[in-house]
Amino acid sequence: MLAAYAMTVLGAGLVTLQLAAGALALAVLFGLAGALCKLSSSVVLRTLAGIYTSVVRGIPDLVLMLLVFYSLPTLVNEVLTAAGISYYFELDPFIAGTVTLALIFGAYMTETFRGALVAIPKGQVEAARAYGLGPMRTFTGILLPQMARLALPGFTNNWLVLLKATALASLIGLQDVMLTAKGAAEATGQPFTFYLLAGGFYLALTLSSVLFLAWLGRRLDLGTRELSR
């Protein structure tokens, strides 16, 4: 019986992984957009990006998640009612979790990517322009590949924090590893066993991520060591 419960908990690992992967993909997009805004020549874009990163990083993850899951739909519904539209807006825990984590880690990625972009020598962009490359090709051909390498340590760190933060989605009712472990703990009266199992799941994920990203870092660094030193 214990084994069956353990399998359910680990099976819910798929939900945790989907949440983490979805949030990561969105966070990278937010981060790229945020970094480009922060480095843009427009004061408006710079200010907006600055407000985004400092507000999101100034509020606890759990509170942001509660805001997105409970407060946001309430606000939307009040606006809908005021506009005379009879539609009831609701967020699914998975969507709310993904959006919240993407917002949070988009802000962290913004800082990571901005730092990496700033570290690329300016002359390279000027040279690209002198060769007649457009802004898009300069970004995808010159900046992006180098940014990927320079941003990897920060990216790794953000991913590890994101992976652990997915556990918060259990508090808004997502059936992930954590909530399934809670269910199993209450059903069997063995909370320690099942929370330990959940902890082991997260630890295995973070450890394998660290190993994989360290390997990736060594690959991306190939041929750059001698040049930069």
Binding site: L62, V63, L75, G199
Partner: protein
């Protein structure tokens, strides 16, 4: 919008903020003391000292704080032996469990931050101290700890903010800090928007105060070294 309920519950928020600050400060203060020693031992050449500390920080940094909190608060009740021990009044109190979890968690992060600060210390500084005849204790007090602290100030500043935000998890085990207060108001007044927005605004203010304080500390202790 119903802000009068919020205005009426401002005293509750004030109490919640007090508990948030109390949890943050006590966890950080105890964690700071423990980390100073653990960071020095973390770089020890003796693997029997170094590896247990490394595994402790690995486990606590590799798992979610929520799991750690639930393991300690809900998990320990599984053991009858513990339930009958004299420790049980402590281990069944949410406040004690929350504080224990936060201390264990922040100590793991802070130990690694401090130990990392030490690793970039030029070996010459320690050799010079030894050549002056300083004892290991004096070297730790005069050279290692000041170098460790000034080098890790920025990262430690981030850790204090993370810790302050992490205290919001205390609301999951019935404690009425800022998030707990907000949650209670949503349950008693049936409003979902205003309580969380107010909580978020309070956290934002606390974060800005911490960020400002660490900027000042950096100017005072880090930039001044040149």
């Amino acid at each position: 919008m119903n802000w009068t309920i919020i205005a009426d519950s401002l005293p509750l928020y004030a109490q919640g903020a007090r508990l948030t600050v109390l949890l943050t400060v006590s966890a950080l203060a105890i964690g700071f003391g423990l980390s100073l020693g653990l960071a020095l031992l973390r770089n020890s050449p003796n693997p029997w000292i170094r590896l247990p500390i490394a595994s402790y920080t690995l486990v606590f940094r590799g798992t979610p704080l929520l799991v750690q909190l639930f393991l300690i608060y809900f998990g320990l009740a599984q053991f009858g032996l513990l339930r009958q021990s004299i420790l049980w009044p402590w281990l069944s109190s949410p406040l004690f469990c929350v504080l224990l979890t936060f201390v264990l968690n922040t100590t793991a992060y802070t130990t690694e931050i401090f130990a990392g600060g030490l690793r970039h210390l030029p070996p010459g500084e320690i050799e010079a101290a030894r050549a002056y005849g300083m004892s290991p204790w004096t070297i730790a007090r005069r050279i290692l700890i000041p170098a460790m602290l000034s080098r890790s100030l920025t990262l430690y500043g981030n850790e204090t903010i993370m810790m302050m935000h992490a205290t919001s998890l205390a609301s999951t085990v019935t404690l009425l800090e800022i998030t707990g207060v907000a949650r209670n108001i949503t349950l008693t007044s049936y409003i979902l928007f205003e309580p969380y927005v107010t909580a978020a605004a309070i956290y934002l203010c606390l974060t800005f105060i911490l960020v400002g304080a660490f900027h000042m500390a950096e100017r005072r202790w880090v930039d001044a070294r040149g």
